[in-house]
Amino acid sequence: MLEVKNLRVSVEGKEILKGIDLTVRPGEVHAIMGPNGSGKSTFAQVLAGNAAFTVTAGEVLYEGQNLLEKAPEVRAREGVFLAFQYPTEIAGVSNAYFLRAAVNDLRAAQGLEAIDAMDFLELMKEKMKIVEMDESFVARPVNEGYSGGEKKRNEILQMAILEPKLAILDETDSGLDIDALKIVSAGVNRLRSPKRSILLVTHYQRLLNYIVPDYVHVLVDGKIVKSGGKDLAFQLEEKGYDWVREPGAMKK
């Protein structure tokens, strides 16, 4: 599904990712954990194709193809989805209009005909149940004036509608109270399937109580310094990130 080899990424001349290697097979859930500033979000953004970041070395293969040379919209149409840490507000565009545009661009790329407004509305309302969203969010502008939790639910709603093969969830647990966390996690779990891989990017182990990963990787200072099973997350929670930090990295 996804093969990352020696990925190095800079932003404004500063190197953030210093050689990442990662392999994700279909159906697997991988957690990327790390302290603030370790490069977790950069990694997520680069996979989605944010042009603000420059790839200086390495490669990323998605279903055997070079992912990095594809435009963000092409990646999305081929099944890559990023749930943003800070979802952008799109003033004046309703959630329904936005999502139908997305679905129809996706369908067009697959040679399917556009879905009409009524059919889409039904689909959307159905999917909204997964994250227990109120129907008023159909007509509300995308993310505008939403609470933190509502934004995160809206991200998972989009995932449910777009049905990606590779979902990258960037700090989806941040800013959620325990009830919202349960709802969002249950939504994600319902979307788990043998064909869908999930990359969970998170600072805290808490999310992993609800969405149990197959693998955990620890990212520190732009490198994966430790990988293991789900137990690794508990060890991190107990011992803190200093436990896995390289001695050299601690000095800065």
Binding site: A48, G49, N50, A51, A52, A71, P72, E73, R75, A76, R77, F81, L82, F84, P87, T88, E89, I90, A91, G92, V93, Y97, F98, L99, A101, A102, V103, D105, L106, A109, P141, Q158, L162
Partner: protein
């Protein structure tokens, strides 16, 4: 009257005076003496005033020389008065049953107008009809708010006022359907000069809406020099829309003067979608306590278009509220001007005023000038303003693209969303729907 009676006027200002003499001599209009006096005073004022240059602070960003340097034909009689209904239908917001007055090249078309079924007491007629008499409100109201003394374009309009709209809503009346005033320009060999003139009175407690549409089925150059006077008597509420869909070579200079009495509410939306140079002046006088106005605007400026919105709100009395929200989207080499001034006089305590102007520049060649300002002479007031000129938010573009939406569509969606803030505030649903359609069509093109 035949074609021989056409008059060339401009570029020399003297020509306007000569034109006026011919205009008056050939017009066998049985107008009332008071009205003829108004006109005589106005034309003598024209002689004293100069066309503004960019040295004039109010015209700093708008050069009128391309307008005044032209030679225009003055349409004494319509070359065409049998325009098929199908030609104006696209401009009716899908509402052919709304009461409307249609003017073709400035001349009233009874055939295309529709005033049947108006509630009793409502008056919607050609202004010329009421200028024949000495009685009634036009004598008291016409030229009272749009003063020829100050601006040459207003003086010119006053001198050449002939046909236009007279709209009156009686006390306490609430009418759902807006009254639509349509000025349509049709192709002509010569450049046409028209002086549209509207007088709108909402009497005490009346609730109504008026739409002015300036539309064109012509690619050629012409000049609409329009003046509207609007009065809201105590407790009246009026929605006012000015829809500029002039032709690509057209010049439009328009002034709307609004006088609001006690506890009135005036809401406007000025929508610029066309014209080579389009300047809209909107002056609102919150003449009595507790008057409130909400002035919106939306301009889509493209190619070499120039759009200028000049807004002046006077707060002479206490407890007045004014709101301005103007938004513009520019591409090509389009330019826009927002000049918004709120004048808070010494007596105007508890004034509450907000001014906002936001511009989205889609191309490097486009420019937006924005000058929101307050002049405040009272101390207990709440006044805020904000202005912005910027590009599309690249983070937002990326967000949309990350959902599979193509680059062009992502940008168009954001433009559409930007404009929606103004569009969604329009209370007349058919107008809102039409604008929505125009936006979607425009932003789907790219």
């Amino acid at each position: 009257m035949n074609d021989k009676m056409t008059i060339q006027i401009g570029p020399d200002k003297k020509n306007y005076e000569d034109a006026f003499k011919i205009f008056e001599s050939v017009s066998e209009r049985e107008t009332a003496s008071w009205f003829r006096e108004h006109k005589a005073a106005a034309i003598s004022r024209v002689a004293q005033l100069d066309f503004p240059t960019r040295k004039n602070e109010d015209w700093k960003y708008t050069d009128v020389s391309p307008i005044v340097a032209n030679t225009y034909r003055f349409p004494l009689k319509p070359a065409i008065n049998d325009l098929p209904f199908a030609r104006i239908e696209p401009f009716l917001f899908g509402q052919s049953d709304w009461p409307r007055l249609v003017f073709i090249n400035g001349v009233f078309s009874g055939q295309l107008s529709q005033t049947a079924g108006l509630p009793s007491g409502v008056k919607v007629c050609n202004l010329r009809e009421v200028l024949r008499t000495d009685n009634g409100f036009p004598r008291q109201q016409l030229n009272r708010y749009a003063l020829p003394e100050k601006r040459i374009f207003t003086a010119l309009n006053a001198a050449f006022t002939d046909e236009g709209a007279c709209v009156y809503f009686p006390p306490g009346l609430e009418i759902q359907q807006p009254v639509h005033l349509i000025y349509v320009t049709v192709p002509s060999e010569d450049k046409i000069l028209v002086h549209p003139r509207n007088l709108v009175i909402a009497d005490k407690g009346a609730r109504a809406a008026v739409i002015e549409s300036f539309v064109s089925v012509s690619e050629s150059a012409y000049f609409n020099n329009a003046v509207s006077e609007i009065v809201l008597e105590e407790g009246a509420r009026l929605d006012y829309y000015k829809m500029i869909r002039e032709g690509p070579s057209a010049f439009h200079i328009g002034t709307t003067e609004v006088c609001q009495h006690r506890s009135t509410l005036f809401s406007s939306c000025t929508i610029n979608l066309g014209g080579r140079i389009a300047r809209s002046d909107l002056h609102v006088d919150l003449a009595e306590e507790g008057a409130e106005c909400s002035l919106d605007g939306l301009y889509l400026v493209t190619e070499n278009q120039h759009v200028d919105n000049y807004i002046l709100v006077d707060h002479p009395k206490p407890r007045g509220t004014s709101r301005q929200l103007y938004k513009g989207i520019l591409d090509g080499k389009g330019t826009s001007v927002f000049y918004g001034k709120v004048f808070v006089h010494p007596d105007a305590q508890k004034t509450d005023a907000i001014q906002t102007n936001k511009n989205l520049l889609l191309t490097e060649g486009a420019s937006a000038y924005t000058r929101p300002q307050f002049e405040i002479y009272a101390d207990d007031v709440k006044c805020t303003h904000g202005a912005a000129v910027g590009q599309l938010d690249e983070e937002a573009v990326f967000y949309l693209k990350s959902r599979g939406i193509g680059e062009a569509r992502a940008r168009n969606l954001l433009c559409y969303g930007f404009a929606s803030e103004v569009v969604n505030r329009i209370r007349q649903e058919p107008v809102r729907r039409e604008l929505d359609r125009v936006m979607l069509a425009k932003f789907e093109e790219a």
